[in-house]
C-alpha cells in the first residue's frame, strides 16, 4: 500500500522533473503550483465525497468566493468611492439589518398561517428599501474612474490574510446551502450546489461595485517579490550567477514561482495534516460509518444531518482557501474564466481518479489531472494534426478539427472519469477500509 503511494508519487515527480529538463523549469514550476492548488481543492471535495458521500456540484462557486475574498481583503480601498457612497452604503446595510430583524420578529408574533405571506411581503419591502439607497450608491461607485477602479476596493491587508478568511467565507456559504439541502435526497444537494455556484459567479460577474465585474480586478498585491525588483537587486543577481543562470529575468520568474510553491506546499501540508488527523479520529470513523450505512448509524442515534453539515462546511472552506490561493497566484480575478467543467467537474475527476476517501489519493489525483489538463492541449493539437494530415492543410475539415483540438481535453476527462468509475472505482490509491457497501443501494 505505502509502496504503491511512494511509487505513484515518485512517478509524478519524475514527470515534472522531465518537463523541467525538456521544456523549462519555469514551465515545470508553473504546472507544479497549479497542481498544488488543484490538490487542495481535491482534498476539499474528498472530505465531502470521500468522508461523507456528499455530491457537491458547486465547487466552482466556493472557489470563486475564495477568489473574491482575496480581492476584498488585499486590494487597497478606493477612498473616493467610500466618500461619495459611504453614507448610502451605510443606509443600505442598515435597511438590510432592519429587514432581517423585522422578518425574525414578525415570524415570532404572527400566527403560523400568516408566517409565509408576511415573510414574503417583508422581504419584498426590504428589498425595495435597500434598493432605494443601494441603487444610487452603486451608480456613484461605478462612475468613479471606471477604466481603472469603479469599485469599492478592498481592505488593503496583506493577501495572505485573505486565505483563512476565504475559508471562513466559503464555509459560511456552505453552511447556508447545507442547512437547506442536506438531509433530503442526496441528489438535491448536488442540484442546490449547482445553483449556488452559478449565482456566486453571476454576482462576481455583474456587481461591478464589488469587484469590477467582467472588467476584472488586476494587480492584486503579491505575497512574494516582484520580478522587476528582483532583477535589480544585488543579492538576487549574485544568487542567479551562483546557480549559473543564463538569463536573470528567467531566474527571477523561476524564483517567484518557487516562492509560491513553498507557500502553497505549506498550506497543502497543513490542510493535509488536519485532514488525516480528522480521518483517523473517532469523528472520521463515525463519518465513514454514516457514509457506509446511513440507516444503521441513524438507528444508533447519530445525528446524520449534523455530521454531514460539518463535513460539508469543512470541505467548502478548503475549496475557498484554494480559490484564494489561485487568485493570489494569478494576481487577478477574472470572473469569466470560471466555468463549471474546469472548476467543479474537473476536481471531481481528480478525486475519483486518486481514490475516493483517500487524502493521499486526492493529492495525487490533483497533480495527475491538472498535468493532463494542461498537456492535453498540445497533445490534442498533435493528435488532430496527425489524423488530418492526409486531408492536406487546405482542407476546411482539417482546419476545423485542428481548431477544436483544445476540446480534446473534455473527451479525455470524460473518458478518465468513466473508465475509473467502471474498472477501478477505488481509484489509484484506494481507501484503506472497505467501502463496497457504500456503493450499492441498500434495499
Amino acid at each position: 500500500m505505502t509502496k504503491r503511494v511512494a511509487l505513484l508519487y515518485g512517478l509524478m515527480c519524475l514527470v515534472l522533473i522531465a518537463i523541467g529538463f525538456l521544456q523549462s523549469w519555469n514551465v515545470a514550476f508553473g504546472i507544479f503550483n497549479l497542481c498544488v492548488i488543484s490538490a487542495v481543492m481535491a482534498l476539499g471535495v474528498n472530505m465531502q465525497w470521500g468522508y461523507a458521500g456528499l455530491f457537491n456540484v458547486g465547487v466552482m462557486g466556493f472557489t470563486a468566493l475564495g477568489g473574491l475574498t482575496a480581492v476584498l481583503v488585499s486590494m487597497p480601498p478606493v477612498g473616493e468611492a467610500w466618500s461619495v457612497a459611504g453614507g448610502d452604503i451605510a443606509l443600505s446595510v442598515l435597511s438590510l439589518v432592519a429587514t432581517i430583524v423585522a422578518v425574525i420578529y414578525a415570524r415570532r408574533v404572527v400566527p403560523p398561517a400568516l408566517k409565509l405571506p408576511v415573510t414574503i411581503i417583508l422581504l419584498l419591502a426590504g428589498y425595495f428599501l435597500i434598493g432605494v439607497f443601494f441603487g444610487p450608491a452603486t451608480d456613484a461607485i461605478e462612475s468613479i474612474d471606471p477604466a481603472l477602479s469603479g469599485y469599492l476596493g478592498g481592505a488593503g491587508l496583506p493577501v495572505l490574510v485573505a486565505w483563512p478568511i476565504a475559508g471562513l467565507v466559503a464555509a459560511g456559504a456552505g453552511w447556508l446551502i447545507g442547512r437547506i439541502a442536506l438531509g433530503l435526497r442526496a441528489d438535491y444537494l448536488a442540484i442546490a450546489t449547482l445553483g449556488i455556484s452559478e449565482i456566486i459567479i453571476a454576482i462576481i460577474k455583474y456587481e461591478e461595485w464589488l469587484s469590477r465585474g467582467v472588467k476584472n480586478v488586476t494587480g492584486i498585491p503579491r505575497p512574494v517579490p516582484y520580478e522587476v525588483d528582483l532583477i535589480e537587486s544585488e543579492w538576487f543577481i549574485s544568487l542567479a550567477n551562483f546557480f549559473g543562470a543564463n538569463e536573470v529575468s528567467d531566474a527571477a520568474g523561476l524564483f517567484v514561482k518557487l516562492c509560491y510553491a513553498v507557500l502553497f506546499v505549506v498550506v497543502l501540508a497543513i490542510i493535509m495534516w488536519f485532514a488525516e488527523r480528522a480521518l483517523k479520529s473517532p469523528w472520521g470513523r463515525m463519518m465513514r460509518a454514516i457514509r457506509d450505512n446511513r440507516d444503521a448509524a441513524a438507528a444508533m442515534g447519530k445525528d446524520v444531518k449534523r455530521r454531514h453539515l460539518q463535513t460539508f462546511v469543512l470541505g467548502c472552506a478548503v475549496c475557498g482557501i484554494a480559490g484564494a490561493m489561485l487568485t493570489t497566484l494569478d494576481g487577478q480575478l477574472t470572473p469569466t474564466s470560471y466555468i463549471p467543467l474546469r472548476y467543479t467537474f474537473l476536481i471531481w475527476v481528480m478525486v475519483i481518479l486518486g481514490g475516493s476517501g483517500n487524502n493521499w489519493g486526492s493529492i495525487l489525483g490533483g497533480f495527475i489531472i491538472w498535468f493532463l489538463w494542461v498537456e492535453a492541449e498540445p497533445f490534442g493539437n498533435w493528435f488532430m494534426t496527425t489524423i488530418t494530415a492526409p486531408l492536406g492543410e487546405q482542407s476546411e475539415l482539417a482546419q476545423h478539427l485542428v481548431a477544436g483540438a483544445a476540446y480534446m481535453r473534455y473527451l479525455m476527462m470524460g473518458a478518465i472519469l468513466l473508465v475509473v468509475m467502471r474498472f477501478a472505482p477505488k481509484g489509484l490509491i484506494p481507501e484503506a477500509t472497505n467501502r463496497s457497501t457504500a456503493m450499492t443501494r441498500s434495499s
Partner: protein, 336 residues
Amino acid sequence: MEILNALALFANFVVVPATAYGAQLALGALGVTLIFGILRFANFAHGELMSFGTMITILVTWFLQNMGVSIAPFPTALLALPIGVLAAISMALVTDRMVFRFYRKQRSNPIVFAIVSVGVMFLIAGIIRIVIGPADQSFADGQRFIIGAFDSRRALGLDEGIAIKQSQLITVVVTAVVVAWLFWFLQKTRSGKAMRAYSDDEDLALLSGINPERVVMICWVIAAALAAIAGTLYGLDKTYKPFIFLQILLPIFAATILGGIGQPVGAILGAFIVAFSEVTVTYAFKKFLAYLGPTDWAPEGLVQLLSTDYKFAVSFIILVAVLLIRPTGIIRGKVI
C-alpha cells in the same frame, strides 16, 4: 384604454415569451423527470444531450439550406429535427449501453449514477465543441413574425401591440402535440403503463413480467427525443449557444423538483411556474406602471425586481423554497 395598453405590454413582454420558454423547459424537465422516475438518478448530462440533438439538427439544417431545400415560411430546422431526434436517441442508447447499464446491473447508489453522468456530460460536451465549436450559431430561417408589433397595434387599436414570433408559436404547438402524445402513451398503451409501473415499484414490475431493460430503453428514447426537440426549439427562439446547456440544467431541475420527481404533470407545471417567475421577476415594469398611473407620470428607475443577469437566481430561489417548504414537490414525488 390605458389599462388595456398596460395589459398588452405585459402580454407582449411577459406572457408570450414566458409561455414559449416554459414550453421549452417543460420538454427538458419531462425528460429529466422520466429518467428520475425510471432510472432514479439526476442526469447531469441531460443539458448536453439537448445540445447534441440540437447540434445535429443545425448541421442537417445547414446541409438542407445549401441544397436549396426549404419549407418556407416554416424554418428548415423543422425538417431537420427528426434527424436530430434520432441522433439524440442514438447517443442516449449508446451511453446507456456503454455506461449506465453496468451500474444498473450492480444496483449502484443513485449518486454513483449522477457521477458517471458527469463523465458522459464531459464526453458529449467535448464532442459538441470539437464538431461545431464553442461559438454561438444561428440557424433560424423562414418567416420571423406571425403577428408583427405594428400589425397587432393596428388590429388592437392600441399603442402597444402583442408581437408573436413564429418560433414561439411553433414551440407552443410542437410542445402541445408532444405532451399530448406522451400522456396518451403513458396512460393508454401497454408500454406506457409498464413505465409507470416500473417507476412506481421496480421489483413488483419484475414480478409482473415487465422487462426492465425494455422500460429503460423506452425511457431513454422518449427523454432523448424530448431533449432534442426542446434544444432545437430553444435554439430557434433564441440562438444556439453550447455553454448555455449546462446552465439550463438549473431551471430544468428546479422545475422537476418543484413538480415532484417522477411526475410528468408536475414537470410541466413546474416548468411554467419557473418560466413565468423568471420572466416576470426580470421584467422592467416602468412602462407598465406608467400606463396604470396618472398621465405624464412614470416611476423612477426601471422597477425591475432582478436584473436579467440573475435570471438563474430565480430558479435557485424556487428550488430552495421547495426544498424548505415541500421537498416532495407540488405533486408528491419520490423523496427518500
